[in-house]
Structure formats: structure tokens, C-alpha cells
Symmetry: C2
Subunit: 522 residues, 2 copies
């Protein structure tokens, strides 16, 4: 804490205009003086200084399918960091370089934080976009009728800002927006002449939207360069309330495929209905043994590794999820009863039938007994329940239901020998679960930073583990340091879809957030 | 019985060459003299006299999609019956006339049998046929390697016949072969100068392969013309053993569609797996409540109307089904345990999942919670368990499982109100079940005729109810007389597929069968 205060005081003393805010800020979180925090007005000013660069970088196509495009992004970003005093290095990666940047003269007395963001974006289908090109960013405001209407972007460059304005373009939110917020935060820091309270390293992934297949190797190869005490990931959307958000983990993704076999070929349902066992019926009965009416997995052991402390339960219960609105939006009367609330449900591994098929439905339906029935499953894993663990449990369960498992289509001999035949395979989708304790040093530091800047009423949202899968495990796996995901963009940003956008109020709050992290000692 | 014997004696006395067979035949079924029956050699001779006509009629395309083709078939067949002394009448049917034919001078002391066959055939895909054209019949023999090889059809016309030869061509077995067998049997009868023991009426359907949509109307319109005491249907394949076969009914066809609803749209399985109820999982659980592991329907009442007498059970147990071979051919270790044997299983209504789908499997699979899951069912009905009865039972069962049934995609209000939402519809496929007692007068007459001709070791196969659906109900529904289906063609005739064929030994035995029916008084 002394170092914490020192760092902030150092900064605040060097920014006279911020001193005026001291009395109010001193009533902030934990009763500490937060003089180092950037005011909304200042953040808006520094943000504004970067909007032309923001438009410029959004004009660079960045689908990682095209290495030449990635190189242009890496070059542009390298210059942007260099002109702010960073030392930089492009990290070779099969023609799609990643960018490393570091503030010079690290202080050995300070902890080092590695900020992870990514320069690449999702593929685009230009015809789906309500603008000239996904690579020509535009400014839009919402009309009285609730439609997004393009307005002159000069208004943005000139100000004043309407925080509800949005910039539309691929990667506007995911993830070039956060990169620009960091650059603006650095500008703010430079303008005050201050030194950050942590040593700052940055890595910009070039293949995140392809599942970060190379980040782990890059981390290995550049282990010394990237050495740090903590990793902060600025990616993904904030909580739907747009409150400051901290995420301490995410589930991993695995998939599995279950095929139940019937006769050798589809059979006439008149001649063989009631005689040839129906694999669709059998698949249904088998799946029915795996989950109960509450949606809870009934395979023994499936939830055994889930451990949630009372403290964690309190943190999760405090997340301001509007479940009534959520179930209404999803179109369901009640959620499955896996957890006491949405956040708790996400702490459990899932077993989800993501696809199912036997013969045909609709126009092509025929009066047959199908020859096989397939269920495609996806299993969301948790740090304690891996794909291997869950897959094996399911496999053992299937065998206990009387099935003989085959690798491929059964042979005649297998068909005559075993009454119940199925194949089952499972694999990690390459993105494992990741988790970092809420009360780790990083967790406390990040929470303190956000409450110092944004207050505690309402408090920042802390997500113990998000349900979806992002490549956190790949990012943090090599360095094995605690981490926090600190998303900065609005939840309704159309991430991965057409008309991706960033709410400009989030740009400003993001600058404040990064500034806060930079100026709070870990 | 006296009339029975009289008829046969009348005939046999007029065919001296058959007298030589008397002693052997007197050891036949029921110890009665069977002198009236046509010997295999005679049958072969009369059959041979019709082979050129058989080739001619097989050269006439007969897909009922083309009315002009049907008219050519009707005209050709009308001439064929007329030249054998029948009075004929084309029955108007939207440009696709059916043919009625009757032997003149019916005897009021005799019962009248209406023989039903059909002139139309299945559509063809010529490229799938191993011959010049499906409409150019060819003779083939089986090579030592087990392949069917074309041979000169002059061998057929000239004789002697190899009973294993087959004629390939559309409708060779289904159903022009049986029509020709009847014509040959009439020729045999004429040659002996005999009168049949029953009054003979014939109706040739022109749209059987389209599901006989018009036969019922034609029966209504021509009720007086078609009046009879019994209906014999010569259609479909004989038992796989190729033993003389009698069928006393068939199951009907109904279908049903069950859709279970989840959220309004497919949902991200990371963010909502464990939270949004999965409709595929729920469909599976629902289907699992409908049938047990033995394949028996567990919906209360589903089998309540199935009544099988001990006598029927004996008849069914006597059917020489080779179930070991059957299960091997189907590729299953064990059959469902609905009946004690294959025949018994077919006496029960079925509930078959003929298709099932939720989201996608394979290449298009995605990590989502599907928004709905569909099961397409087909229900084979029995005379006592109609589509309406079975459908209602299933519907009530679904409601008992807690589902609120909707007609179409649920509204927002329904979604928020009901936890479990599904739609369920069912309908007859227009072909109802039909059944005629095995021990009806027709049943006894047909069985006696076949045993007189073919003996009792082995006995003819009696099928109480076949599993598949044929339009028997439509054929017999209007006239409401007992019936028997007496198939004449080999089971492996590729009916409905490419390379349809008739085993020529079956042509000959078919002539004997029809001759036997014609000469046995009902």
C-alpha cells in the first residue's frame, strides 16, 4: 500500500489541474486518496487526441488469413508505440508478426505487468455491413427511431464528444479499440510527465481470432522478453451493465461426438418397425441418462471437482445480472438449475448437445428405421475439470449403459456380437479453461485500481469465471503468472459479426481504466 | 366341400393327361384328391404361351405420372383379357383409366371373387439399370460368379425353362407378372374346356404405386359392377422362402412430428451452456419416456387393443422365418422384444423415430445451444389401433411429461409462461391398416387351394398381418368383404428399385396358384 500511495502521489503532484479533484476523490474506495486517477474530462481530452489514429488503424484490414495485412498492422502499431517512447520488437510468426512493446527503463522495485491485446480481427462479409466498407470506419449516432445513422466524423475529431456515439468498423471494439485506449492513456501519462507505477510490457497477438494457435509458441520463444509478474488481458466485452468489469477466468472448450448404431442400412419402417432397434430412440435414451430435468449432469463425478468458496459465492451473487431480463431475452421461462444464479452456473463444466441427427426431417423424411444417430456435444471445461477428465467420465458412463464402443462403423462380427453399439470420441478444442484467484495480488490490484477510479457504488463487476471460451490459457499458460481479464468495450458491440462498433463513452472510460492500472503499483 | 370336389373332378376328367397324377395327388392336403390342380409341367406349357405377351406388356412404360402411358397399358390389357373371352370395361379415372374384366355368364350358385392387380409401375432411373432400358425386358441367368448375365430371350420363348432364369424390367414382378400369370391360368382353363369354380372379376388399378389415391372412388362409383364375395390381391412379394404365401392384413401408416422448443434463437454454448435449457436434451428425455430398452412402447394404452388369439400365435410361430439370418442381414445382434418372434412383432402398432434433428452435425456443427429439436415419427397402425387413437395417446403422454403444446413457434408470452414447450401433430398417411380373419371363408378357401396344389409339407405361409403398408384398406374398404393377399413373385425381385425382376419359376407357380383359386369353389 505505501508504494501504491507513493506512486499516485508522485503523479498527482505533477499534474496541478488534478489537485482540485483531491477532496472528492479522497472519499473514494477504501478511503484512500486517489489523486493519481485521470478525470473523465482529462480522459476525454487525451482520447480525442487519438481518434484520427484510431480511424487510421481501423482502415487497415486485419483478417489473419492475409499475412501481408497483418504486417501492415504490425508496422503501423509499432510506429504508434515507438513515437510514445516504447521500445518495440516484432516477433516473427510465420509472416504474421506479433508486436512486443515495452516502456524503457523498468524499475526493478516495481512489478512488471504484461498487457495482452490483439491486432487481428474477425473475417468480414462486407455486404452485411450498413456502411461502405468494414475497413472504412464511420461515426454513427442513434436516431429518435432507434436506428444507427452515419454522421460526419469531423464532429468526433473536433469534439465535444457525445458518449453514446459509436464508431463502426471491423476491430473497432475487438480489439483495436483497447489498443488505442492504452496509447491514449500513455499520452496522458506522458503529458503529466509521470512514470507508471508498474513496468509496462505489451504484446499484441496477430492470430487471436484464429484461436491464438501461435501465442503459446511465441511465449516460449520469447520467454525472457515477456517475463512479468502479472498479465492483464484487454479483450472481450464488459458486463452488460457497462460497469467496470474484472474477469478471473473462463471455461475451456472441448467437443465430443457420440454415434449410436442400428442396422447396417436404413430399414423399411413397416417391415422392421418394432423389430430392428432404432438408434435414434437409443441415442435419446442414452442422452436422457446423462442429464436430469433440471439440466444438471447426472454422470457420476462430472461436477466433483467444482469447488466454490463462500467468498466466491458472495462475489458472484453481487454481479448485477438481470436474470429476469436475460431469460426474457433468451425466450425461456426458467433457466436450468445448475447454479443458484447465472454466474454460479458458469462455474460448472457443461455437457451440451450442440447438434443431433438421424436420417432426415422435413422434406426428405422417409419411413425408415435409421441406421445410426449422432449427437455432437460440446463440453465446457473448467480449470479443475479438463476435457480428458470429462470425456473419460462420459465414455465410462456410456459403457455402463451397456454399450460396446467401436472406433468406426461396426464390423459384421461386432454387429452380431453386441446388442448396443456406439462410437464416442472427445477432444479439447485447443482452448483450455483458465482461472486466477479473485483475491490474488493481481486481482486485488485491479479491483483497487478500478474502485479508486470509478468508485464502489456501484462496485466493479467481478466475474469469477465466464462461460465462454477465450484463449486465456494459451496466453497465460507459458508464463504461469496470475492474470486478470479487464474488458473495456460495450457488451453490445456486435463482436465477431457485421456492424461491429465501439461506444465512444467506453473509449474514454477505457483510457481512465488503463491509466489507473498504469499508475497503481502492484 | 362337396362343391369343392365336384369342381375339381369336373375339370380333371376333361384333362386326361392329368389323370395320371391322381394317385400322387390324392396323398395331398387333407387327404383329398386334387385332380383339378394344374401340374407344374402343364403350368409351364401355358405360361410359355404367354411369354411373348409378357415381353410386349413390359415394353409399355407405366409410370402413372404419364396418363398417355397408362392408357396404352389399359388398351393392351383390355385386348389381352378380351381375346380370352372376358368382357371388359375401362373405368374412367382422370385420364388414367382402370380396367375391369369379367368372365361372362356368372353362375349365381357360385361365389364371386374380385381379383385386384395393378398395371402401373414405379418410376425409373434408367441409368441405374444394368440393361438397355427398364422398358426393354431382358432374360438373364446367374453366372457361376453369381452375377446376372443377359441371355437370348429366344430361349425363353422356345423352352425348356430354367426356373432360375429371371426377366428383368420395370413391373416384371410388380405387378404385370401376376396379371400375366392370371391370363396364362385362364388359357389353361380354356384349354381344358372347364368352367371356373368361382365367378371371376378383375380390377386393374392404374395408380397403385402412387398410393392408390383413386381406387376407393372407383370402387364407390362402380360398386355394382365390382360387387363380390371376396377380394384376392395379387401384389407384393412372397415369403422369403418362396413358399406359397397368404397374407391377411397389413399395418397402416401414420406420421407425427414432435418439436421441442428451447430459446428463441441458437445460443452461444459457452455463455448459455448450463443455463438455457437444451431442447435436444429435452427431446431425448421425452423420447426416452416413450419406449423402454426392449423397444416396447411404454405410453399407457398403446398396445391395449392388440388381441392375438392362441390359434393366431400358432399360425405365426409356424411361419418359417429365419430370424438368425434376418438379424444377421440387418446387422443387429438382437431384435426388439415387442413380440415373441418377427410375425408377432408386426401385430403391434409401432412408434418409430424416422428422423431427428437439432442444429447441425458434421461440417456445419457449431458451439450453440439449439433453439429447437425435431423428431419425425412414423406410427404403423393396426385395424384396432388407428392413427387417431395412437396419436392422441402420444399427445396426452407428452402433456403428462409437463409440456405445454403449441401449434406453431411459441410466442414470447408462451415462452415466459411455460417451462416446457413443444408442438405435436399427427396424421394418417392415407393408408390405413387392414385385416381379414385367417379363418374367414376366404382364408380357408385360399389355404385349401394352395395346399391342394402345393401340399402341406411344407405348408403355405400364412401371414396374419404384414408390417409394411399397402393400400389394402383402400381396396377393400368400400366393398367390405373378406380378403386375402396372395403374392406370387419372388421376394428378391428388387421391387420399387432398379433391376426389378421376376424369377420365371415363380411365373409358373403363379399360374398354378391362380388356376387353383379359379377351380376351387369358395
Amino acid at each position: 500500500m505505501p508504494r501504491h500511495c507513493t506512486a499516485r502521489n508522485t503523479l498527482s503532484l505533477q499534474t496541478p489541474r488534478r489537485l482540485a479533484l483531491l477532496p472528492a476523490l479522497m472519499l473514494g474506495a477504501a478511503g484512500l486518496a486517489n489523486a493519481a486517477d485521470l478525470s473523465a474530462a482529462d480522459a476525454e481530452r487525451y482520447a480525442q487526441g487519438t481518434y484520427r489514429e484510431y480511424f487510421e488503424v481501423l482502415s487497415l484490414p486485419n483478417d489473419a488469413i492475409a499475412p501481408e495485412d497483418i504486417r501492415k498492422n504490425a508496422d503501423w502499431l509499432e510506429q504508434a508505440f515507438r513515437k510514445r517512447g516504447f521500445t518495440t520488437k516484432q516477433l516473427a510468426n510465420n509472416g504474421k508478426p506479433m508486436l512486443f512493446a515495452e516502456l524503457p527503463n523498468p524499475d526493478a522495485a516495481r512489478k512488471t505487468v504484461l498487457f495482452y491485446m490483439h491486432m487481428d480481427g474477425q473475417p468480414v462479409i462486407p455486404t452485411q455491413w450498413a456502411q461502405k466498407s468494414p475497413w472504412t470506419p464511420v461515426l454513427k449516432h442513434k436516431t429518435a427511431q432507434g436506428n444507427w445513422e452515419e454522421i460526419d466524423s469531423a464532429q468526433l475529431f473536433k469534439g465535444p464528444l457525445d458518449p453514446e456515439w459509436r464508431v463502426f468498423g471491423r476491430a473497432s471494439a475487438d480489439d483495436k479499440g483497447p489498443i488505442m485506449m492504452m496509447l491514449a492513456a500513455i499520452d496522458a501519462l506522458k503529458a503529466t510527465g509521470g512514470q507508471p507505477a508498474v513496468n509496462v510490457k505489451v504484446i499484441l497477438d496477430s492470430e487471436e481470432e484464429k484461436g491464438s494457435p501461435s501465442i503459446s509458441k511465441i511465449m516460449q520463444t520469447n520467454r525472457d522478453l515477456l517475463r512479468c509478474d502479472a498479465i492483464v488481458i484487454h479483450d472481450g466485452p464488459m458486463h452488460a451493465t457497462n460497469l467496470p468489469t474484472l474477469i478471473f477466468g473462463n471455461r475451456g472448450a472441448a467437443d465430443a461426438k457420440l454415434t449410436v448404431y442400428g442396422g447396417k442400412v436404413p430399414l423399411h419402417s413397416g417391415h422392421y418397425g418394432n423389430y430392428a432397434p432404432n438408434p435414434a430412440q437409443r441415442l435419446a435414451s442414452l442422452l436422457a441418462t446423462m442429464k436430469n430435468d433440471d439440466g444438471r449432469v447426472t454422470i457420476p463425478g462430472y461436477y466433483d471437482h467444482v469447488k466454490i468458496s463462500e467468498a466466491d459465492r458472495k462475489v458472484m451473487a453481487a454481479v448485477p445480472d438481470d436474470e429476469a431480463a436475460l431469460t426474457k431475452r433468451l425466450g425461456i421461462a426458467h433457466a436450468d438449475k445448475v447454479g443458484a444464479n447465472y454466474q454460479e452456473a458458469m462455474q460448472y463444466p457443461s455437457l451440451n448437445v450442440r447438434g443431433m441427427a438421424a436420417a432426415a426431417v422435413g422434406d426428405k423424411v422417409a419411413n425408415i428405421v435409421p441406421d445410426k444417430a449422432v449427437a455432437e456435444l460440446d463440453l465446457r471445461t473448467t480449470p479443475d475439470s479438463s476435457a480428458a477428465y470429462l470425456g473419460k467420465l462420459i465414455e465410462q458412463h456410456i459403457v455402463r449403459q451397456g454399450y460396446h464402443l467401436v472406433k468406426t462403423t461396426p464390423t459384421d462380427e461386432e454387429r452380431s456380437r453386441y446388442d448396443k453399439l456406439a462410437s464416442f470420441s472427445y477432444q479439447s478444442e485447443g482452448a483450455d479453461a483458465a482461472g486466477s484467484p479473485i483475491d490474488s495480488a493481481v486481482g486485488k490490484w485491479a479491483y483497487q485500481s478500478l474502485t479508486d477510479t470509478f468508485g464502489t457504488a456501484p462496485a466493479p463487476v467481478r466475474i469469477r469465471m465466464m462461460g465462454g471460451t477465450v484463449p486465456t490459457a494459451e496466453i497465460v499458460g507459458v508464463l504461469q503468472v496470475p492474470f486478470a481479464i479487464i474488458p473495456l468495450v460495450n457488451a453490445d458491440n456486435n463482436q465477431h459479426a457485421a456492424n461491429e462498433n465501439l461506444r465512444m463513452g467506453n473509449y474514454v472510460s477505457g483510457v481512465r481504466t488503463v491509466y489507473s492500472l498504469l499508475t497503481h503499483p502492484l
